[in-house]
Amino acid sequence: MSETQPLLRVEDLHTGFGVEEHMVRAVDGVTFTVNRGEAYALLGESGCGKSMTALSILKLVPMPAGRITGGRVWLGDEDLLRYPEVAMRRVRGRRAAMIFQEPMTSLNPVVTVGGQIAETVMHHSRLSSAALRARVQESLSAVGIPDPERRAREYPHQLSGGMKQRVMIAMALAARPDLLIADEPTTALDVTTQAQVLELISALRDDTGMALLLITHDLGVVREMADRIGVMYAGHIIEEAPAAAFFSAPRHPYTQALFESLPSARHRTAPLATIKGNVPRLDRVFPGCRFASRCTHAWELCETHAPRWVETGAGHAVRCHLADPAVTRPSPVMPEPPVSAARPGSTSKEADRQVLDVRDLAVHFPVRRGVFKRIVGHVRAVDGVSFSVRRGQTLALVGESGCGKTTAGKGLLQLIAPTRGSVMYAGSELTRLRGEALRRRRAELQIIFQDPFSSMNPRMLVADIIEEGMLAQAVGASAAQRRRLIDTLLEDVGLPADAGRRYPHEFSGGQRQRICIARALAVRPSLIVCDEPTSALDVSVQAQILNLLKRLQSEHGLAYLFITHNIAVVAYLADTVAVMYLGRLVEEGPVEAVLESPRHPYTQALLSAVPAIDSPGEQRIRLGGEPPSPANPPGGCHFHPRCAHAMPVCRERYPPVVSFNGAHTARCFLYE
C-alpha cells in the first residue's frame, strides 16, 4: 500500500536553548515517522517540547537563542537540516506548511485577508492578477468561508477567531503541501468552533491526501483526528501507538495516568487520579527515566537507568522498564491505579439552603461614539440572568467565550456595576450596598481567576498576598495569629510551609492556583466564584486542583459558582448546571438531567461538539456560523439563526421558560 510510505522521518532530533551549562534541552532525542496521508498526533503537556519539535522540523527555531544540535529530518528524500535558509523557504509552504495556535497574531493586521493569501500563492507560482483573484477566492471557499469575494477584501480584525484560523489554513494549503503541521490549531477556539475547524481539516485531508502532524495536549482532539499517536514527555517520545491500541490499552504509566486524571461524570464520587508534582525542568541531564519522580510504579532502576524503546507489537512501542522483557521488577506487585489522597467526595446534601440568589441580573456596557461620547448602543454582555446557589453546592455556568459568563460572575460580586437586577446574599441586597457596608460583605464572596499568572501581584511575597485580604477584613487579631493562619492555609492547599516567603514567579501554574485558593480561603468565604480556574493548566495539574476544590468544599461547606467551558469538568464537579448563550440562560437544571438529556438545541450542540474519548465517530450536531455579537443580538430567540429547529415564532419573540420534571428548565419553543 502506498500509504505506509514514509513522508516525514525525524531521527534523534535535538534542539536546545541557552548556553552549554544551562542549556534547556527542549527536544532531546525525538524520533518518529509520519507516513503519506497519515494523521500523526504528538500529544503532551505544556513544556514537553512538542511545539519546539514542530518548529525544528521546518527550521523555524528562534535563533540565536535556540539551535538544533543534532539529528536528521527527512521530508521525502530531502535532508532538511542540511538545507540553507534559501532552500528551506522553498520547502516551507510548498512541501510542508504550518498553522499555529494563535490565529489573532499569525495574521498581519494591516493587510487584507485576500492580500495575505495572494502573497503566499504568488510565492509559489506566477499567476495573472485575474487568475490570482480566482485562486484566492477558491481557497477561501475551500475552507468554508461564506461570501469569499467580500471576505477577501476584509482585514483580519473583521473576522472571528474561527474564521481567522480558517484563513490560516487556507494560506497554509495555498500551495498544496504534502504535510500540514498543526500546532494546537484549536486550543484558542471555542468548542463549537473547534468542531468546525477539526471537521474542515479532516475534509481537506480526505480531498488532498496530505499528511497531518497534529500537535496537541487535548486527548479528545487526538481521538477525533489521529491515526497514530506519539506521547511526548520531557523532550522525548515515551509511547507510540496506533489510535485504537492507544485508547484501549495505553502502556506507559504516564499515559495511563493522563487518562485517569481526565474528569468526567464517572469519577464524581471519588477524587480524580492525579500525577504528583510537575513536568520536570529540561535544563538538566536525566540519568534514568524522566517520569520516575512522578511515577507510582517506579523503583530504583528507574532512577538510575533510562528505559529502552521497547516494541510491544502492532506498531505499539513504549519507553518503560515495565514493558521491557529484559528487565524484571524486584517485587512484581500489580500496578495499582495511580490514586492520590483517597477520600471520597462528600455527597451529603446538608442544609439545602440558598446562599446566593441572583434575579434578572444584567450588565450592559455603553457603546459611545463621537465628540461628545454619546451613547449609541449597549453591549448586552449579561442580559437578565437568574440563578441561585445553595450552600455547599456547585453551580456550573457553562458557555462559550463571549457569552457573558465571566461578566455575570464579576457583576454579582459587584466588581462590575450591574445595570439592573438583584443579588441577594444572606438577606442583604448586594447591588444596593455601598462603601463600607459592601467592603465588609466582600469577605464572604470570593473569586478565583483563570490566569494564575496575572492574578497575583508579582512584587509581593506570597505571605503578604494572602495576608492582604485578612488585613482588609480584619481576620486574625495579631500578626503572629495571622502568620499561623497563613501557614495552616498553605498546608491546607498542599504547599510547603516556606512558600510564604517566596515570590509568585517561583511557582508553577498549578501551585499559583493553589496560592490563589489559599488567598480566597483566608477571609473565610461561604461562596467562591471560580472563573475557569483550571483552563490554563495541564490535565494532570487540573486534576489536582479539582480534587483540592472538591475537598475544600466538603470540609468548609463552600458553595461554588464554577464558570467554565469545559463540559468534562462540569460533569465531574457540578451539582447544577446553567447554560448561557449571548448573555442569557438557555437551560438550567441538575447536572445529570442537563448533560444526559439536554433539551435546548444549543445545549445539545455544545455537548455534541465536545470531542469524546469514549465514543468516537458518533454523529455530531454541527453548529453553523459564529456566535452573533452581544451588541446587536438577533431578534426573538438569540439562537435562531444557528438553530436547526428554528420555527417562525423563534424570530418573533424570546421563548418563555419551559419546565421539565422539576428543576430542569429551558427556554425554547420546541417544548411549549
Binding site: 466588581l415 466582600r442 469577605a443 470570593q446
Partner: protein, 471 residues
C-alpha cells in the same frame, strides 16, 4: 567658629533627594524583585562606565552644595562676631586660588599673556603695543615661550602620578571590600577583577575611575600655575566657571524631577484607576497645560519672579540666596511644564493594570482604594518612572542651557553652562575667535549628558518588561 554654615533651599532639597535615594537603596536591598533589575544595570558595561562618570559629577556637585560664610577677622576681640556676606561652598574653598585669580580680560588656555594687545609705555619712554603678561598665570616662568611646554608637562605628570597613587589606594580599598563581602582571598579577587570574571564589570569601572582621577589631578595641579581653560571677557578663570556649573546642571536635572514626580505619579495613577470624571478632569488639565508653549510659561514665571525680587530686595540676605531662589523657581516651572508626559504614560499603564486580576482580587477582598493604589499599582508602574526620570535628566540639563541662552534661565550671576554659552556667543564673532569658553562648557555638558543617556539606556534595558527575556 571660624565660619557659619548656610543651608540654601536647593541644598536642602538636594540632600533630601540623596536621602530618599539612600532610603530606597536600603529598602530595596532586602527585596529581591527590586534588586534584580538594578543588578542587571550593574552588569551593563557601558551603563556602569557612565555611572562612574556621573559619580564624579555628583561628588563635585555635592562638594559645591555645602555652603558657609567665613568670619571676618576683627581688629579687637570684644567686637561682635561678624561673618562675611559672601556665601561660599566647600568647592569654593578648595578652588580659592582660581576664584581670586582674575585677569584683565581674555587669555587663551595655558597662555602666559593676555589675548589682546595693550599699549604700554616702556621705561625708556617709547610706547609699544604688546601682549602683557598675566597676573596670575605662568608668573614663575622667565621666558614662557621656551619654558612653558616643559613646565606644563612636568606639572601634569606630577598631578597624574598623585592621581594614580590615590587611585591605587582606592583600588586596594575596593578589593579589600570585595574580598570581605565575598569571603574570598583578596588575591583571588584581584585576579578575578583583572581578568574581568565577576558579574559586575569592575575592571572597566576602575579604568574609567583611574582615567578620571588622574585627569582631575592633572587639571588641578596645572590650575595653580595656569588658566587651563583660559579666561573670559572679564578675566575670570573658565575652568573654575565650568566646574562651578556642574552643581547647577545637576540640580536642574534632579530637582525638577523631584517637583514633577508627585504631580505625575499621583495624577497619573488616580486618573487611570478611578476613570470617569476624575480621568476626564486630569486629562483636561494636562492637555491644556501641554498646549501652552512651555517656553512661554517659563518666561512668564521667571520674569515675574525677577520683578518680585527687584521689589523686595530686603528679603534676601545675599546674592547667593536670590540666585538660589531663581534656580529653585526655574526647577519648579520646568517641573510643572514637564510632568504631563510621565502622567500620560502612567495613566495608560494604570488603565492596563486596573483590569489585571490581582487588582480585581484586591477589590474582591475589600481592600481600600488607597491600599490598591500604593500596594498594587504604584510598585508596578515604578519601572516607567525610573525609565522616564533617567531619560528626562539629560533633556533637562540641555534645557537649562537653552533657557539661559534665551535669557530666562538661571540668574546671570550664577555659574552655569547655559550662561557660559550665552556669553561665549558674542566671542565667537571676534577675530581671532575666542573658542575656549564655549568648548569647555560644551565638553563638560556633553560628558554629563552622554553618561546620563548611557545609564538611562542601561536602566531601561533592565526595567522595561517588554525588553526582559525572563519575566
Amino acid at each position: 567658629m571660624p565660619f557659619t554654615p548656610v543651608v540654601l533651599t536647593t541644598d536642602a532639597l538636594l540632600f533630601l533627594l540623596l536621602a530618599a535615594a539612600g532610603g530606597y537603596a536600603w529598602y530595596a536591598r532586602r527585596r529581591e524583585h527590586l534588586r534584580a533589575p538594578w543588578r542587571q544595570v550593574a552588569r551593563s558595561r557601558l551603563g556602569m562606565m557612565a555611572a562612574v562618570v556621573l559619580c564624579a559629577y555628583l561628588l563635585v556637585g555635592i562638594a559645591d552644595s555645602f555652603h558657609l560664610r567665613l568670619r571676618i577677622a576683627q581688629p579687637d576681640a570684644q567686637a561682635a562676631v561678624r561673618y562675611s556676606p559672601e556665601v561660599l561652598s566647600l568647592l569654593d574653598l578648595a578652588t580659592g586660588h582660581l576664584r581670586d585669580a582674575v585677569e584683565k580680560t581674555y587669555s587663551a588656555p595655558f597662555a602666559a599673556t593676555l589675548y589682546v594687545r595693550e599699549t604700554v609705555t616702556t621705561p625708556d619712554g617709547t610706547v609699544a603695543r604688546v601682549y602683557p603678561r598675566l597676573r596670575h598665570a605662568a608668573t614663575h616662568l622667565d621666558d614662557p615661550e621656551r619654558q612653558r611646554l616643559g613646565d606644563v608637562l612636568a606639572t601634569a605628570a606630577t598631578g597624574a602620578l598623585q592621581g594614580i597613587a590615590l587611585w591605587a589606594l582606592a583600588v586596594a580599598l575596593l578589593l579589600y571590600g570585595l574580598a570581605r563581602s565575598g569571603r574570598a582571598r583578596w588575591r583571588t579577587v584581584l585576579r578575578q577583577v583583572a581578568r574581568d570574571e565577576l558579574a559586575v564589570p569592575w575592571r572597566l569601572m576602575l579604568i574609567t575611575a583611574g582615567v578620571l582621577i588622574a585627569g582631575a589631578f592633572m587639571l588641578a595641579n596645572l590650575s595653580f600655575t595656569y588658566h587651563v581653560f583660559g579666561t573670559d571677557k572679564v578675566g575670570q578663570d573658565v575652568f573654575y566657571q565650568t566646574v562651578k556649573s556642574i552643581r547647577t546642571g545637576l540640580l536642574i536635572g534632579t530637582l525638577t524631577t523631584l517637583v514633577m514626580l508627585p504631580f505625575a505619579v499621583l495624577l497619573g495613577l488616580v486618573a487611570g484607576y478611578f476613570g470617569r470624571w476624575v480621568d476626564d478632569l486630569i486629562q483636561y488639565l494636562y492637555t491644556t497645560l501641554n498646549s501652552i508653549p512651555g517656553v512661554l510659561l517659563i518666561a512668564a514665571g521667571i520674569l515675574s519672579l525677577q520683578v518680585y525680587m527687584a521689589n523686595h530686595p530686603q528679603r534676601f540676605e545675599s546674592f547667593a540666596e536670590s540666585a538660589d531662589l531663581r534656580l529653585l523657581f526655574l526647577c519648579l516651572i520646568l517641573g510643572v511644564t514637564s510632568w504631563t508626559g510621565l502622567c500620560r504614560l502612567l495613566r495608560g499603564e494604570t488603565l492596563k493594570l486596573r483590569e489585571l486580576e490581582y487588582v480585581q482580587a484586591a477589590t474582591a477582598f475589600g481592600v481600600r482604594h488607597l491600599g490598591i493604589l500604593t500596594r498594587h499599582l504604584l510598585p508596578n508602574v515604578m519601572h516607567v518612572v525610573f525609565i522616564t526620570v533617567a531619560l528626562d535628566f539629560s533633556g533637562l540639563v540641555l534645557a537649562e542651557a537653552v533657557l539661559s541662552y534665551v535669557g530666562i534661565g538661571v540668574d546671570p550671576s550664577m555659574n552655569s553652562w547655559g550662561n557660559m554659552i550665552n556669553q561665549a556667543r558674542l566671542e565667537m564673532a571676534r577675530e581671532p575667535v575666542v573658542w575656549w569658553s564655549l568648548l569647555a562648557a560644551f565638553t563638560f555638558m556633553f560628558a554629563l549628558v552622554l553618561a546620563a543617556n548611557l545609564l538611562a539606556d542601561a536602566i531601561r534595558d533592565a526595567f522595561d518588561p517588554r525588553l526582559r527575556s525572563v519575566p
